[in-house]
């Protein structure tokens, strides 16, 4: 029974990691940009919830999704579009710059102390299934993630824009040569990445009940690790990587000797260093170092 409980913990944590990793993986697959400012999108979602605290939850949630999607589009337009032909290292540094800039603007406006937000607090209560206690939030995380992943899979398979994005991810120049509008697919990728980030903010705020200007940092780090583990450039890989990191984190939390549990994350990262030494290309291999024009 404890094993089953742990499995549910692992899947729900992994689900949130998978959403974050997909947001990063999607942008990487199209632009060869590792967007560390993705964490700040998550953070902006949190602060949108804070700013609208007291409104109906639905209003808060929808506002967070919209604000984050717009912020993602803004990031692309202002910071990354002018650098599109730059090499990946330049893009990476630019994403750090955006990340710090947004963090410090929020720090300036709201200060450094974490602030409480009531968002779906009652989801913290557990639902009983024959001896199994599942917090409503975990259940919601699993269900919503599955819905989002399914919607995303359908979008990539059937929507013309989705097919164009897959083509652009495989060969950006050729995609343009069949008439795919570069600005449009990249903007679409950022908008989707923003929506994914906003759901991560909803889960984080519902879970912790607070926001801070640093709330996105650890999440983006884990998401980055997950997308590398999954195989940079592969979206299925990013999602799998997210679930895997969740599984390893929860397993270590459950089965490490008690004295070592405070150092869980060190063991998590150690495990993934070992994994990458064994399989440097990640779970789903896809050539990620192609020319991008």
């Amino acid at each position: 029974m404890i094993a089953l409980q742990n499995a549910i913990d692992a899947i729900s944590l992994g689900a949130v990691y998978a959403l974050a990793a997909l947001g990063i993986g999607l942008i990487f697959s199209i632009m060869r940009l590792i967007n560390f400012a993705h964490g700040e999108l998550i953070m902006l979602g949190g602060f949108t919830l804070y700013a609208l605290a007291g409104q109906p939850y639905l209003v808060m949630g929808l506002a967070a999704i919209i604000v984050v999607a717009i912020a993602a589009l803004g990031m692309e337009r202002v910071a990354f579009r002018p650098l599109r032909r730059a090499n990946p290292a330049t893009l990476l540094i630019a994403s750090f710059a955006v990340s710090y800039l947004v963090q410090h603007i929020v720090l300036l406006v709201f200060g450094s102390r974490p602030m409480g937000v009531d968002f779906l607090a009652q989801l913290g209560q557990s639902i009983e299934f024959g001896g199994l206690r599942v917090p409503g939030l975990q259940l919601a995380a699993i269900i919503i993630t599955l819905v989002l992943l399914t919607a995303l899979a359908l979008f990539f398979r059937h929507a013309p824009t989705g097919v164009q994005m897959r083509a652009a991810a495989e060969d950006f120049t050729m995609a343009r040569l069949v008439g795919v509008r570069a600005n449009r697919v990249i903007a679409a990728a950022f908008a989707i990445s923003g929506v994914l980030a906003s759901f991560v903010s909803l889960f984080l705020v519902a879970q912790t009940g607070s926001v801070s200007y640093k709330m996105g940092i650890s999440m983006v780090l884990i998401a980055f690790v997950a997308s590398v583990i999954g195989g940079m450039g592969s979206l299925i890989g990013a999602a799998l990587g997210g679930f895997l990191v969740g599984l390893v984190s929860v397993s270590l939390q459950a089965y490490l000797p008690v004295d070592l549990r405070p150092y869980r994350d060190a063991f998590v990262f150690l495990a993934f260093i070992a994994f990458l030494l064994w399989r440097p290309q990640g779970i789903m291999f896809r050539r990620a170092d192609r020319e991008r024009v």
Binding site: V163, A167, E170, T173, M174, R176, L177, V178, G179
Partner: protein, 237 residues
Amino acid sequence: MLKIENLKVSYGSISALRGISIDVAAGEIVAVIGPNGAGKSTLLLTIAGVVKAAGGEIVFDGHRVHGQAPEKLVARRMALVPEGRHIFGSLTVAENLALGATTRNDRAGIAADTERVLAMFPVLRDRYRGKAGKLSGGEQQMLAIGRALMSRPKLLLLDEPSLGLAPLVVRQVYEAIFELKQQGLTVLIVEQSVNRALAAADRTYVLNSGLIAMSGRSVDLHGTAEFDAAYFGMART
């Protein structure tokens, strides 16, 4: 249809094209031939908007188009089949063809053109739902041409369509090109295979070291000493 004047392209300090002029009239097949590194692929990539020109002028269908984005030129009905084909290997044949029609939204016309391409290359119909990456080299070349046709181009740019293909497949590909010419399509082919190009094209330009070394009707060029000299680079001495 296409008029190129004094086109110059350089990669850093190396000039790939040093001022070339080419005309392609509507309904013509024109070939540009030349040895490796002559600048042939650069020429097509520049016409298609992938590579930026350093100078000169490109007029397509009455519009000055140099500096325009590739996707804009596709919308103007110019299509490039690049060297190496560049089909989307992780996508299905059907998706590759559908992507060729990205700039169009006339559903009925797209369906009719898909049917036309599948009739022209029946092997694609057999593999229609399969991954394009699983196709053989020749089939990929047919898919690349079919995908380009899906944009219903006025001008088709073909970069080394025979490269790496078995002679039988090359013949099939060139038969398709002739068929397209019968239907009124204008084609600019870049080739290393001299005999193929001279046999297929109405007119031929010889490109060597970034300059047009010779040009004329293909039938007049064939087998002349001047042609050999231009092709092998002796013309400059």
